[in-house]
């Protein structure tokens, strides 16, 4: 099993979710994060004070999949999240050794 973490632009969430669902991936966990990267933030001015907002809102999708599905999932994410503009984000893959479904206590690939 692998964990795929994708950092994407917020408004792409629906598309990515659907692309993954099309592959039969039924579960994922999403969180709001702030990204720092090449894409530059905007400047906010409050009366005299200027603040450069370096950290831009991004969405992090975490999805654990069986080894067999990794390739497909990566492709689906990249395709659906891409705008071609700077700041589109990254995808990282890392190993997962065990998974458990709390409700049923099933473990391993059955659990995801």
């Amino acid at each position: 099993m692998k964990k795929i973490e994708a950092i994407i632009k917020p408004f792409k969430l629906e598309e990515v979710k659907e692309a993954l669902a099309d592959l039969g991936i039924e579960g994922m966990t999403v969180s709001e994060v702030k990204g720092f990267g090449r894409q530059k933030g905007h400047t906010e001015i409050y009366r005299g004070s200027e603040y450069t907002v370096d950290f831009l809102p991004k969405i992090k999708i975490e999805v654990v999949v069986t080894d067999a599905l990794v390739e497909g999932a990566l492709g689906a994410i990249v395709k659906s999240a891409k705008t071609g503009k700077i700041g589109d984000g990254k995808v990282f893959v890392s190993p997962v050794e065990e998974a458990i479904r709390i409700r049923t206590e099933e473990s391993g690939e059955k659990a995801i």
């Binding site: 906010e44 001015i45 409050y46 009366r47 005299g48």
Partner: protein, 489 residues
Amino acid sequence: MKKYTIPSRLAAVALAAGCVLTGGSAFSQETVTTVTETIAVVETVAPAEPTVEQRIADLEAYVNNGARTPDVASKVSGPGPGHNAWQMASTALVLFMTLPGLALFYGGLVRSKNVLSVLAMTLGIAGLVTILWFLCGYSLTFSGGSAFLGDLAQACFNGMKPGNVGAGYHWISDYIWAMFQLTFAIITPALIFGATAERMKFSAVLLFTAIWMFVVYFPLAHMVWAANGFMCGPLNPDAGIKAIDFAGGTVVHMSSGWSALVLCIILGPRLGFGKQPMAPHSMVLCMIGTGMLFVGWFGFNAGSALGADAIASNAFTTTFLCAATAGFVWAMVEWITRGKPSVLGFCSGIVAGLVVITPAAGFVTPSSAMIMAVAAGIVPFFAVVYLKKMIGYDDALDTFGVHGVGGTMGAILTGVFASAEANSVVEGLKDGLLMNQILASVLTIVLSVVATAIIAYIVKFTIGLRASEEVESTGLDTAEHGEEGYLLD
């Protein structure tokens, strides 16, 4: 009767006649009559029954917000409903400016970890000042005394009665006059702590306020608005400085603004000031507060006419025009100089417009108000955006930039634009008025600056002014009040 034995007969008369006034209406009417009227009471000569003609005259006086027929027992001796209704509404509106108006305007501008400390500050000051006002503040401000401070004759509202009128003006209840003035006494110190936000201890806020009220506010309000006050041009023929201040340019905005500057310098900047981001945590709250300040200010300014009369209508109109226009001007200046018109720009401009028109509201024409609006949208903008950066003090929410600079400008422009066309009381005072306004401003600044410096050091060396570094960095809310502003999970 105690209150007439202290000081001299003259002072007693002045006191009885008046503590008269704040507003312009008072200024446009014969004070003499009021005096006579009250003396009658003092001497307890049973007054004559009024004639039909006198009874009609009294009723007309009600409509016109004028004085009753002297020397007769008026059949309408209590509060006049229309004027008193407006005075009650105005008092409610001015309280609304502080709770929750100012609390939100300021609260939205701090970081979320300090929002409750701002709310607690306004709530604490409202309570503390109410208690002081009842115990002696009202009396020290409006009861007899010298040209510089009142006496204690009306401490604990001693001798005041629900049906009495005349302390404020002809047709409003003395009680409501005291409450109306209380709302001013509450908002003034609350303004100061915009400058010191996010780092001053709550206990220090309360102690500073308690002393400051006695040293700065009560004396200043007495000098400007009591009938025997040193700077009360319209009512005191012996006034040292014959200045005018319709609704508190000197008393409220200059005193708080200049005190704020001194206090925030002595306090020092916030940790990380200039390095860490300290953006407002909620421009939405700030804007809600601005709306409430705008609406409530009609009570502040038009209420200062002390009756629902022509002067009140004038003050209402100049206030509306100046505030809305100044908000627009500020945002346009921002658009030109910084590229974007911001919500904070609109809000700042509205407040600046309100501050600038305050001393002038019942004394200038709508056209003059529009000119003052343009100045109000530009001058404080530059003070806040450039001057502060140049000098480098940390006036967190720009109390000095808006109230200090705006209030001073307003006091002086009142000298320029005050006109008999708007208010007949200006007629007798127009000569040398500009110089008198400048003198009054200088006196206000000197009093505020010197007193604040002394009080600040007293507090600093007794209980301390600042929260500890740890408290400041985790936020005042949990540390000082044991609560969090928001729990949105």
